[in-house]
């Protein structure tokens, strides 16, 4: 997939947020949300983005969609460099890239029927003639596994899982090429989580939907993705084929994996417990950002930033010791 033209290519993306303080609101510091992140995503591919809170995964998703402006770097979508596109220029592109949010409760307007909520993007982008609007919405509802009577209902009449289906239907309504799903199952119960994961997998297989799947849950990411990208404090630690996760090289990926409780009481293994908390992105550590918690860190890690380089197969890793 690396050879064909990727649907999305991100090069050295940097995003800093100013921290205002003092009487006149002077900038007193910078939050380093993304420090040189590169990524490519092929057509029909699902890339999983995993990391702990504050690692920049949500910022990356939002910056790719230009919901926040990047500080530096390049975003190439479908061959077009959209990095400096204005909101006006972005508008026609919006139908090609959509987002599904984490909180299915907050992302639907409580005063809009589901029919209206899903028709809105269809109207804005003039996808279908007005006469066929309802038909198209009903078709979308059936794609995501909701009944027709949902059309006239309001968001409060649905459960969390159903609302997430509505969010997905709304994102799909404009036939996007790319969907960024930001923690789409985190707010849902386990049995419902599986339903939504299966739905996204099906959409990928049936319609070739490309997906950037953002989650903190390594189990879920590994299950749904083709490739997995592990982030820590705004930097990419490792990119690898989802099937290779059990042979991950980077100490952070390894400890993340070992921290996930396994639903099998006979499964015995050594758990690597990372000491301390994730450092503040206001003042990230020098050298390798992970060195303060890394069980294998050496002197070199404190001073020199490890570059992301090719490892086995097409995998990439950023560590001095691998």
């Amino acid at each position: 997939m690396q050879n064909s033209m990727p649907l999305l290519e991100v090069k050295n993306l940097v995003k800093t947020f100013p921290v205002k303080g003092g009487f006149f609101g002077k900038t007193v510091g910078e939050v380093h949300a993304l420090s040189g992140v590169s990524l490519f995503l092929g057509k029909g591919e699902i890339v999983g983005l995993v990391g702990e809170s504050g690692c920049g995964k949500t910022t990356l998703g939002r910056t790719i969609l230009k919901l926040t402006e990047p500080t530096d770097g390049k975003i190439i979508f479908h061959g077009k460099n959209i990095t400096s596109y204005s909101a006006e220029q972005m508008r026609p592109l919006r139908r090609e890239m959509q987002i599904v949010f984490q909180d299915p409760y907050a992302s639907l307007n409580p005063r809009m029927t589901i029919g209206n909520a899903i028709s809105e993007p269809l109207k804005v982008h003039k996808i279908v003639p007005r006469k066929e609007l309802k038909e198209k919405v009903l078709e979308l509802l059936s794609v995501v596994g909701l009944k027709e009577d949902a059309y006239y209902k309001y968001p409060h009449e649905f459960s969390g899982g159903q609302r997430q289906r509505i969010g997905i239907a709304r994102a799909l309504s404009v036939n996007p090429k790319l969907v960024v799903a930001d923690e789409p199952v985190s707010a849902l119960d386990v049995s419902i989580q599986a339903q939504i994961i299966n739905l996204l997998s099906d959409l990928n297989q049936q319609f070739g939907l490309s997906l950037l799947f953002i989650s903190h849950d390594l189990k879920v990411v590994r299950h749904i993705s083709h490739r997995v990208m592990v982030m820590y404090l705004g930097r990419v630690m490792e990119v690898l084929d989802a099937g290779d996760l059990s042979e991950a090289k980077h100490p952070y990926t390894v400890s993340l994996l070992s921290a996930v409780p396994v639903a099998d009481p006979k499964h015995k293994r050594k758990r690597i417990i990372l000491a301390g908390d994730v450092p503040s992105p206001l003042n990230p550590p020098s050298g390798c950002v992970f060195h303060t918690r890394c069980p294998m860190a050496i002197e070199r890690c404190k001073t020199e930033i490890p570059l992301l380089r090719e490892a086995e197969k097409d995998n990439q890793v950023a560590c001095h010791l691998v």
Binding site: D189, A194, K219, S246, P261, D264, I273
Partner: protein, 328 residues
């Protein structure tokens, strides 16, 4: 060995208008000294209400404990039924003999008091120590739960600490009076995976060191498998399966338990499609006649729609509420 706590036929009802609905329905379990007992289920299954009922903290109204017994058996004898205690007597139990850790460490700490104030409050109240002694105890507890520089930390406010640190403070507070039973309600759900691992290991170590028992409430079967010894699976207010953890995983009986187990992706096995449970948790106000799980069950039968199954095997170690359990 005698059990630390015995919950017998506990029933807690929720009242809306003149409709009464049991949110905790005939729940029974016992916890041995030093044992980790897990209560697992999805949101709305009644697991948190069970915990709040044991603490007698159910919001009343609309909820009310309407039946059953909660017997606390202290090590030095003299059992008491918590449901029969006066509010004043109950205050001597809460935080002292049974302590609780909640899911959200930010909302369960008071933002306008230092963490030292909040930990010493319970110590002064229950152990009648002076403020100075209590503060020394608090510092020692903070040290036990792995908070660096405890002497400085006692004078800090909750917002100055990270999520993991706040949960450590909650644990220090809960353990400050050396309770016999600790109830942890989703203690790590709001935390990152690597912090979750730290906190769970810490709780387990302390449970062992202080020889406490732990009632662990969670939705994560991975946590159950790794940390608990006994387990009860709840659905729509009732226990649907109850056994040792090893048995629950090796010899699953109830279709709901099996459905839950199948919907969790395994981190090391490549698998095709996840098996999901169709539909969703039923509304407790509109529970069907018969088994509460019938609409989502793959083994549903005519009988399931007519008769509500009982928890079978009253004296056996493995009990389940199903007419058509899975064979071994």
């Amino acid at each position: 060995m005698q059990d630390i706590i015995e919950v017998k036929n506990l029933t807690t009802e929720l009242t809306l208008g003149d409709v009464h609905v049991p949110v905790v329905n005939d729940v029974s379990f016992k916890i041995r000294p030093g044992e980790v007992y897990a209560l697992v289920g999805e949101s709305g299954c009644g697991k948190s209400m069970t915990a709040l009922s044991i603490m007698r903290l159910v919001p009343e109204p609309p909820a009310k404990i309407v039946g059953g017994e909660i017997l606390l058996h202290p090590k030095n004898g003299g059992s008491s039924n918590l449901l029969k205690l006066t509010e004043k007597e109950m205050r001597g139990v809460r935080g002292n003999r049974i302590a609780m850790i909640f899911q959200e460490p930010m909302t369960s700490l008071n933002p306008v008091f230092t963490i030292g104030d909040q930990i010493t409050e319970a110590i002064i109240l229950h152990q009648h120590l002076s403020k100075k002694q209590a503060l020394a105890n608090a510092i020692e507890m903070l040290n036990t739960v792995g908070i660096p520089n405890p002497t400085q930390r006692v004078s800090q406010y909750p917002h100055e600490l990270s999520g993991g640190m706040r949960q450590r403070v909650m644990i220090a507070m809960a353990l400050s009076c050396k309770p016999e039973l600790l109830i942890a309600d989703e203690p790590t759900t709001a935390l990152d995976v690597t912090i979750q691992a730290q906190i769970l290991e810490l709780i387990l170590k302390l449970v062992h060191d202080f020889s406490m028992s732990l009632l662990l409430i969670t939705h994560d079967l991975g946590i159950v498998a790794e940390f608990a010894k006994q387990v009860a699976v709840m659905y729509a207010g009732q226990i649907v399966e109850q056994s040792s953890v090893l048995d629950l995983f090796a010899n699953t009986k109830h279709p709901y338990t099996k459905g839950l187990l199948d919907s969790v992706p395994m981190p090391f096995k490549q698998d095709g499609k996840l098996t999901s449970i169709p539909g969703m948790v039923p509304d407790l106000f509109e529970l069907p006649k018969g088994c509460a799980y019938q609409d989502r069950c793959e083994k549903v039968h005519r009988d399931c729609k007519e008769i509500r199954p009982q928890l079978l095997g009253k004296n056996l170690k493995h009990r389940y509420r199903c007419f058509f359990p899975y064979a071994k």
